[in-house]
Amino acid sequence: MSACLYNMKTANHILIFKTNITTPEDRLKVAAVLDQQPFISKWTVDTEDIDRVLRIESAIAATAPIIHLIRSRNYECAELED
């Protein structure tokens, strides 16, 4: 059981950001950082939408760290508020 604890990180946070991730190349660049985060279980970018919405399913409410990560790759990123 205990060995499973790490994998049991349920993605109970859905984080939504407005970005300018547009092309497949852009997507690859952010993938390089997002895929490395153990707390992110799934992420998608809606490149068809005007806000290029980045949607992240995460085990923790890591809004600020994600904004920092995306901006470190020279892309815009701001939380899309309710």
């Binding site: 109970n12 946070h13 859905i14 939504i16 998608t44 809606d46 068809e48 939408d49 005007i50 806000d51 919405v53 949607r55 409410a61 899309l80 508020e81 309710d82």
Partner: protein, 196 residues
């Protein structure tokens, strides 16, 4: 933290169906949907990852809803007359009560969404329908025939009546209103046509 809210989700779904039904797929987008549903785009993204995800999920749900409504109280082992009449009543009730859903499906015609919906509903539906026709052939109630021939005679007349009703007029602008007696009269002709 964001929580799923079933009421909000339902409002988003209803609004999406209405928008696609009235304005088509081309004009549909998450931002427009958010405005129409009175929620923020962020709220929609909590439930769906993009437009495609949203439309696929709604098509499947609506398809399943339609299948359930069509198969309600339907017994594949019933006599041909009885089974077909249940089908007519169910299909008429669903089509008349779910105008928007019908329009929504019409807009999805030939889209990948419709294919996904078909995949989701076909198993249950084909099993019941297939054995119903098979039984009727075995009992000698109807002749064996291609599915297209069967459908065109068995159901297309009903949908013609429903279309007249929805348009409020039939041929040459004659006023038309659907009724059970009109349905029964048409059904009797169909039954006569299909029966051996």
């Amino acid at each position: 933290m964001r929580y799923r809210d079933e009421n909000k989700m339902q409002a988003i779904r209803d609004c999406a169906i209405e928008m696609v039904a009235k304005n088509g797929l081309e004009n549909f987008g998450i931002n427009r949907l958010a405005k129409a549903a009175g929620v923020s785009p962020a709220t929609i993204y909590i439930y769906y990852k993009d437009k495609e995800d949203l439309l696929t999920s709604i098509s499947i749900e609506e398809g399943v809803k339609m299948t359930r409504a069509t198969l309600k109280g339907f017994d594949p082992n019933a006599s041909f007359r009885e089974g077909l009449w249940v089908q007519w009543k169910n299909r008429a009730a669903f089509s008349l009560d779910n105008l928007l859903a019908a329009e929504f499906f019409e807009q999805l015609r030939n889209s990948t969404y419709k294919d996904k919906m078909r995949e989701a509903i076909s198993l249950e539906f084909r099993k019941s329908m297939g054995s119903f026709i098979e039984n009727a052939v075995k009992r000698g109630e109807i002749n064996e025939m291609p599915l297209e021939v069967y459908w065109s005679v068995a159901f297309a007349p009903l949908y013609a009546l429903i279309r007249f009703h929805n348009e409020g007029q039939s041929l040459d602008g004659r006023k038309f209103k659907f009724s059970e007696s009109i349905m029964k009269q048409t059904f009797d002709c169909v039954l006569k046509g299909l029966s051996k």
